[in-house]
């Protein structure tokens, strides 16, 4: 399949679009990344039009749409996958009509109440969703539903998420008993409150976490991505993962397989997709369901290094077997391709 993938690449805490595209390419698909940031947002400043466009939502969408249109003429993709609501749903329809391409949309958060998100889902020929919770809400053939919905959980990229030999200095700089990585939400702050005097370190958007005044002494204002994130996963005794219920409900966060692939130990909030992905509590991961259980298990595992090692070794083996991008994400595009009828030869558009 020849795919044009419009996505964010910077400003992200994980590199999901990049790892996904690379896994699809290794499977023989042709994937052209159209990084919104590298192709548009970071370049603005060279022209007045782009600079003004960035400050005006409608104009921004139109300028971007023109560039995506040009890319379609140049690359003749079979499908265009939108990683967010970069353009208006009406433009997606026009793109399909003009070039005969299929339209895909990635639903990363459960933000269906936002009008442009729900409209994009309705317009799309196929939708990739991170949270299985929304699949029954959007899959179907009537009432604006989309018939082709494919789930994608979290995964790890072993070339990036790997065990590192850390120096004593690395351990001192990045290590702590408990680590949380991610943005602020009130739910997360409440859950972490019980760990604040037990060696907790929070790496995340410091402006957001400033709202949790009781936790500010645990927060680092440094941004985290790339090699640094891998080092933090390696150096922490326990990585605590807490879902943000306003974003996802059942989903398997990428954090869990990423930490385990690094040989780390993760204490994760139980979700349906976590269990459905084959993890077992106390065997390949540790999970909790209530704040009390989080505090109990945090203390239990902190005192038992051997158990932590056993669980993280089993978890790593499970991730490398079933939850790498090649294994978990690779087949998704095959399934998308099979579900779509071939493009009509000589159909609409210059291709």
């Amino acid at each position: 399949m020849n795919l044009l993938y419009v996505c964010w690449l910077d400003a992200a805490t994980t590199d999901i679009p990049l790892f996904t595209a690379q896994a699809w390419e290794r499977r023989g698909h042709k994937v052209h990344l159209f990084p919104y940031d590298l192709c548009f947002a970071n370049e603005a400043g060279g022209s007045v039009e782009d600079s003004i466009a960035l400050s005006d939502r409608v104009l921004q969408q139109r300028v971007l749409a023109a560039r995506i249109n040009e890319a379609c003429i140049r690359l003749c993709p079979d499908a265009v996958l939108f990683g967010a609501t970069f353009v208006a749903p009406e433009f997606m329809r026009n793109l399909r009509r003009r070039h005969g391409v299929r339209i895909g949309f990635v639903l990363g958060y459960n933000n269906l109440l936002q009008r442009d998100v729900s409209e994009s889902v309705s317009v799309a020929d196929f939708v990739l969703v991170h949270d299985s919770y929304v699949i029954p809400l959007i899959q179907g053939t009537s009432n604006g539903r989309c018939p082709r919905v494919f789930g994608f959980g979290g995964a790890a990229e072993p070339r990036e998420h790997t065990s590192l030999a850390l120096s004593a200095w690395d351990r001192q700089r990045y290590g702590s008993d408990f680590v949380f990585l991610g943005g602020y939400s009130r739910h997360r702050a409440e859950m972490l409150d019980g760990l604040r005097e037990k060696g907790l370190r929070i790496w995340g958007d410091s402006q957001g976490w400033a709202r949790a005044w009781a936790l500010t002494s645990c927060c680092s204002s440094e941004p985290v991505y790339g090699r640094k994130k891998t080092k933090i996963y390696n150096a922490a005794k326990i990585v605590v993962h807490i879902e943000d219920p306003e974003k996802n409900i059942n989903s398997l966060s990428a954090r869990v397989p990423e930490v385990l692939a690094c040989g780390g130990f993760v204490l994760a909030q139980w979700t349906r997709d976590l269990e459905a992905a084959g993890f077992q509590d106390g065997v390949s991961v540790a999970w909790y369901t209530t704040p009390g259980e989080l505090a109990d298990k945090a203390g239990y595992y902190l005192a038992r290094e051997d158990q932590r090692r056993q669980v993280s070794e089993a978890g790593k083996a499970h991730v490398l077997r079933s939850l790498t991008y090649d294994v978990a994400y690779g087949p998704i595009l095959d399934a998308v391709e099979q579900s779509l009828a071939p493009r009509s030869p000589g159909g609409a558009g210059p291709c």
């Binding site: 910077d10 990049l18 370049e43 400043g45 007045v48 104009l59 941004p223 790339g226 640094k228």
Partner: protein, 145 residues
């Protein structure tokens, strides 16, 4: 390794950098972070502790910044010009907060920053004269065609 930095270098054709010089940043963690990232991506490249007397082709000049790209590049404009005098060298403006990377030949980066400055000034006057709405409407109309 850091897949994203590698992707940006490969996309620009700069993945074969032989020597890397990172302009020191006021924040120590930033210097550590950039050095670790580039060491992981370019394990065979030499990480220079001081700016080279003479730049060569395949040299990579890294300019980390936290807030403002224009100020950061302005501060090391002489270095950028020196690097730009050699064909095949690269400059990487490294926005630390959101990992905003801009990689270009040093002279192109200087031109980009100069354009940003001009555009910012123009936008200021457009706003000052109360013309922003009219300009936006005009551009919307142009783009809709």
């Amino acid at each position: 390794m850091s897949a994203y930095v590698r992707y940006v270098l490969e996309r620009a054709g700069a993945a074969g950098a032989q020597r890397v010089f990172c302009v020191p940043h006021a924040e120590e963690w930033a210097n550590i972070q950039v050095a670790e990232e580039l060491q992981a991506v370019l394990p065979n490249a030499e990480l220079l502790a001081a700016p080279p007397g003479e730049f060569r082709a395949e040299d990579l000049l890294v300019i980390p910044y936290l807030e403002d790209l224009v100020q950061a590049v302005d501060r090391c404009a002489p270095l950028c010009r020196a690097a730009g005098s050699v064909h095949g060298s690269w400059a990487l403006a490294y926005g630390l907060r959101w990992r905003v990377l801009q990689l270009a030949p040093p002279r192109a980066l200087l031109r980009h920053v100069a354009a940003r400055r001009r555009v910012a000034r123009l936008l200021y006057w457009i706003a000052r004269l109360g013309l922003r709405e009219a300009v936006v409407r005009g551009l919307r109309w142009t783009c809709a065609k």
